[in-house]
């Protein structure tokens, strides 16, 4: 087992190596230029860097891939954020008249952060996560991914582990990038079911008719609920956590359950009793509480979005492949086909991949090196070396996920272009 223990103090030493030999610049550039269809799409994109000692530099922009590389290798940012595509180059935003400099487009983004689930997690709190509560992220991805694809018709979704306690989603379809602020907030609100702050106990309220989106989401939650909430989080286990659930129930059900729970200690059976009682009392329940068991399930498991991040076109979000300065983990794309097996603690840290780089090459790699050498004199020599470098580390499989995502984007772009030119031939 390699020593992958990450020490934040080493970050200044590791970053130069990471940006020089490992960061997947060419894929990154390919992503953000979107086939170069729109003029200056990459050039007018805002990047912002967090440097040593929390120095924050906004409105960085770059005209080419190599300029981006050079700047990143020079500044060695602790953290990289991606902003909007603006009307002018962000680096020159001071030179244009105020009001003229405007955010035009950006991916539709979602930010789900584990801290927002603190009232329904028994295992950890705040920035801590464990494999138990990670299920919440899995559920969140399943629900949102389905809705964004099936309900909203988006096709190019990049899910990224944030590096610490949450996930991000980048919806990259052209139509998503062009959405107005109002449309973004409408989408985010359509997807939000859990509402209310510290002054609200019952955060999910369902009413007739149950919208197809909610039924579909419930199906997903039901799949995980018993194993995750009842067994692992043990929400009906201790007195304290049971009280929290009871707070969501009507008075008379609560009283009856109290006596039932005296005898019944098995949490799964306890949940059955809760359901049975609600079922029994359904007829006498007030209007507005007939869906109470569903509401409980949603309150404990439904994704909690930070709506403000999704709303703004100019809102910045941490870039994929950026390093999380606290954990050292790389912000990597998540392969949805392997989602249930995704383990945030297996995501490589910067120390691990830098170390893997120093390990002696296998014979296989040596041979490949030999083969490559002939072509090496050409201009892309540096580029090739970097490709082989990351392939020798645990970053490789995540870059591959990214590559597949980019290929799909390129394919649909090609499809669009064919369609367009076909249309033109009709005339």
């Amino acid at each position: 087992m390699p020593n992958s223990d990450y020490d934040p103090a080493c970050l200044p030493d590791l970053l130069p190596l990471y940006y020089r030999r490992l960061f997947p610049f060419s894929q990154y550039y390919r992503w953000l230029s979107y086939g170069g269809v729109t003029k200056n799409y990459f050039q007018n994109r805002e990047f912002s860097f967090t440097l040593k000692d929390d120095i924050y530099v906004r409105y960085q922009s770059f005209s080419t891939q190599s300029e981006l590389e050079k700047e990143m290798q020079k500044m060695n940012p602790y953290k990289i954020d991606i902003g909007a595509v603006y009307s002018h180059r962000p680096s020159q935003h001071n030179t244009v008249k105020t009001g003229a400099f405007q955010a035009l487009e950006k991916e539709l983004v979602f930010d789900i952060d584990m801290t927002d689930y603190d009232d329904v997690r028994n295992c950890c709190s705040a920035a801590d996560i464990c494999t138990k509560c990670w299920t919440l992220m899995t559920i969140a991805i399943r629900i949102l991914d389905r809705a964004l694809r099936e309900d909203f018709g988006f096709r190019h979704l990049l899910w990224v582990y944030s590096g610490r306690r949450g996930v991000h989603c980048w919806v990259c379809d052209e139509s998503a990038r062009k959405l107005s602020v109002a449309a973004r907030s409408a989408v985010a609100e359509y997807l939000s079911l859990v509402k209310g702050g510290e002054e609200t106990v019952r955060k999910v309220a369902l009413s007739d008719p149950i919208h197809p989106f909610i039924s579909q989401s419930l199906t997903i939650v039901e799949h995980y609920f018993i194993d995750y909430a009842i067994k692992e989080q043990d929400i009906l286990g201790t007195k304290e956590s049971t009280d929290k659930v009871f707070a969501l129930l009507p008075e008379d059900i609560r009283a009856e359950l109290n006596s039932v729970f005296q005898k019944e200690k098995n949490p799964v059976k306890r949940w059955d009793k809760v359901k049975a009682l609600i079922q029994l009392k359904r007829a006498s329940l007030k209007k507005g509480s007939q869906y109470i068991e569903k509401e409980i399930m949603l309150q404990y498991c439904y994704p909690r979005l930070d709506v403000n991040v999704s709303k703004g076109v100019n809102h910045l979000l941490k870039s994929p492949f950026s390093v999380h300065p606290k954990t050292g983990r790389i912000s990597v794309p998540i392969d949805l086909r392997e989602l249930d097996r995704f383990d945030p603690f297996e995501v490589p840290t910067i120390s691990l991949i830098c170390e893997e780089l120093d390990r002696p090459k296998t014979t296989e790699e040596e041979e490949e090196d030999e083969r490559m050498k002939d072509k090496e004199n050409e201009k892309e020599a540096g580029e090739r070396r970097r490709i082989r470098d990351y392939k020798r580390t645990s970053l490789a499989k995540y870059v591959k996920v990214f590559d597949q995502f980019l290929d799909a984007l390129a394919r649909s772009r090609k499809g669009e272009m064919l369609k367009k030119s076909d249309l033109q031939k009709d005339f």
């Binding site: 107005s180 510290e198 019952r202």
Partner: protein
């Protein structure tokens, strides 16, 4: 009915073509000459109408009967056209239908001029005009609705019966308006979801593959979307041609006053600045802060932290009651460093946003304190948040407990909860004001947390504050003047006259 005769008239007189329907999309600007006094009356009356629309929208559900009744009353009161077909034959005492439509048309375009100047004004104007349009369209009989769509050339894609049957279950579960019985006779329109955002937002429509399937009776959403798009474009265009209008010194002060009147006071005027000391805040928060600010203050003292939404709402309120930037920095820093944030982190991560609030960073906007509307409608609190309106965003049970702990009488609490149930959050807050200040009738209409504070100080200080209030209003007028250096206050006699009238108008809005 002499149809033949009328048609001839239509051809000869374009005015009739323009006002052929009681509702219009305001596609064509009026081209006639009108007198300055008519210009002013029209504008002021439409503004009153829009102001009513805004007030009713806060107090009532927009589809409720009361809302419609009250709005209707205002319509006839101000002589705006209301769903009657053009019928000039009927002898009427008041203005004819044609005159009303003309007024509707012209007044709309005048307010466009006044409300195109800033993003905030445009947003307000669009919002009110849309609410107005929604109300008027919804109230049309079906025949006139179809007629309206036809006249304005609005065509939307309908789905086939086959598609409708395939999606049957889903369509039924997506909308209140659809049931197994009615489905067969209902038409559904299929539009990109971007064109039906209000339905998408509230999950009142079936979505599939990026398309919204809209039942016939919700067609207003798409029409309204069209209306918004057009109006928003038109306002942007108007803004560009505004400099030409602004050279007319008769119109300039009038337009400025019209746009100034929309919010009444914005409580950003720094008259009280430096009159509050930090030591006073704890006691003031119990006596004179509205519940929302009291809640934020308590949360801040307890947790030594507030999230962004809370910092904005509370920070701007404090600025409004007179904290200086230095005081604000000191206030927030001393509280935050008692918690997890050390002084260094505070200076790096939080001090910027406080200076930003005071217009000292970024694009240097001097932000104004949030109004009740803004607190109630935008950015609802989520996990870990304490901001928002306690009457809107608390569970009734928790609210009851909280009010009990503040020693309100049980009957008072019941009254408040009753108002909350009816969604009259501001009225509930006003009730809270009356109960905590031991007065029968507060005599003002609450729409701003800072107004609450000022009124409370007035009551507690026994009228000492009244002088300050008078000064504030005067300052407000000066402000408007100084924003527009191109026109001097001592313009023609006429504009002075206009100014006088406008002050009366302002007083009217403040009285409300």
């Amino acid at each position: 009915m002499q149809f033949g005769g009328k048609r001839k008239k239509l051809i000869t007189n374009p005015q009739y073509e323009l006002y052929g329907h009681c509702l219009q999309f305001y596609d064509k600007p009026p081209l006639e000459n009108i007198s300055l006094s008519e210009f002013e009356t029209f504008a002021v009356e439409r503004l009153r109408l829009l102001k009513t629309v805004e007030n009713l929208g806060v107090s009532y559900v927009k589809t409720s009967e009361q809302y419609q009744k009250k709005l209707f009353a205002e319509f006839s009161n101000l002589n705006f056209p209301y769903k009657i077909e053009a019928d000039d034959h009927k002898v009427q005492t008041g203005p004819t239908e044609h005159e009303k439509r003309r007024k509707d048309h012209i007044s709309h375009f005048i307010l466009r001029l006044a409300y195109c100047q800033t993003e905030d004004l445009r947003r307000w104007f669009i919002q009110q005009e849309m609410d107005l349009f929604r109300y008027r369209f919804n109230d049309l009989p079906p025949q006139l609705k179809t007629d309206f769509l036809h006249r304005n050339n609005l065509k939307y894609d309908m789905i086939s019966t086959e598609e409708k049957n395939n999606l049957k279950e889903k369509l039924i579960h997506s909308s209140h308006a659809v049931s197994g019985v009615t489905l067969e006779n209902q038409d559904f329109y299929k539009v990109p979801f971007q064109d039906a955002l209000d339905l998408v937002r509230t999950r009142k429509v079936f979505l599939q593959g990026g398309y919204a399937y809209i039942p016939q009776q919700d067609i207003i959403t798409i029409v309204l979307n069209d209306f918004r798009t057009r109006l928003s474009k038109a306002l942007a265009l108007t803004a560009r041609s505004l400099p030409a209008v602004q050279t007319d010194e008769r119109l300039q002060p009038l337009l400025n006053h019209l746009s100034h009147a929309y919010v009444g006071q914005d409580y950003s005027i720094q008259k009280n600045i430096g009159k509050i000391s930090l030591e006073q805040i704890d006691s003031l928060s119990g006596k004179s802060f509205p519940l929302c600010m009291r809640q934020l203050h308590k949360a801040l003292r307890e947790n030594h932290h507030l999230r962004h939404g809370g910092r904005m709402q509370y920070g701007l309120f404090l600025k409004g009651i007179g904290l200086t930037l230095e005081q604000a920095l000191q206030f927030w820093r001393s509280e935050f460093i008692k918690g997890k944030v050390d002084a260094d982190k505070f200076d790096k991560a939080y001090a910027y946003s406080i200076r930003h609030m005071f217009g000292k960073e970024g694009k240097r906007t001097d932000y104004t304190p949030y109004s009740c509307m803004k607190v109630i409608l935008s950015n609802p609190p989520s996990q870990g948040d304490y901001h928002g309106c306690p009457f809107r965003h608390s569970d009734p049970e928790l609210l009851r407990q909280k009010l009990q702990s503040y020693k309100l009488s049980p009957s008072g609490i019941n009254q408040i909860l009753e108002l909350v149930k009816g969604m009259h959050y501001q009225v509930a807050c006003q009730k809270y004001f009356e109960l905590t200040h031991n007065i029968e009738d507060s005599g003002f209409s609450l729409n701003h947390p800072n107004q609450y504070f000022i009124e409370s100080q007035k009551v507690l200080g026994g009228g000492k504050e009244i002088k300050r209030e008078a000064e504030t209003v005067q300052k407000g007028t000066e402000n408007t003047g100084s924003k527009t250096p191109s026109v001097s206050q001592q313009g023609s006699a006429q504009s002075a006259q206009v100014l006088g009238d406008m002050e009366a108008l302002e007083a009217f809005f403040q009285d409300e």
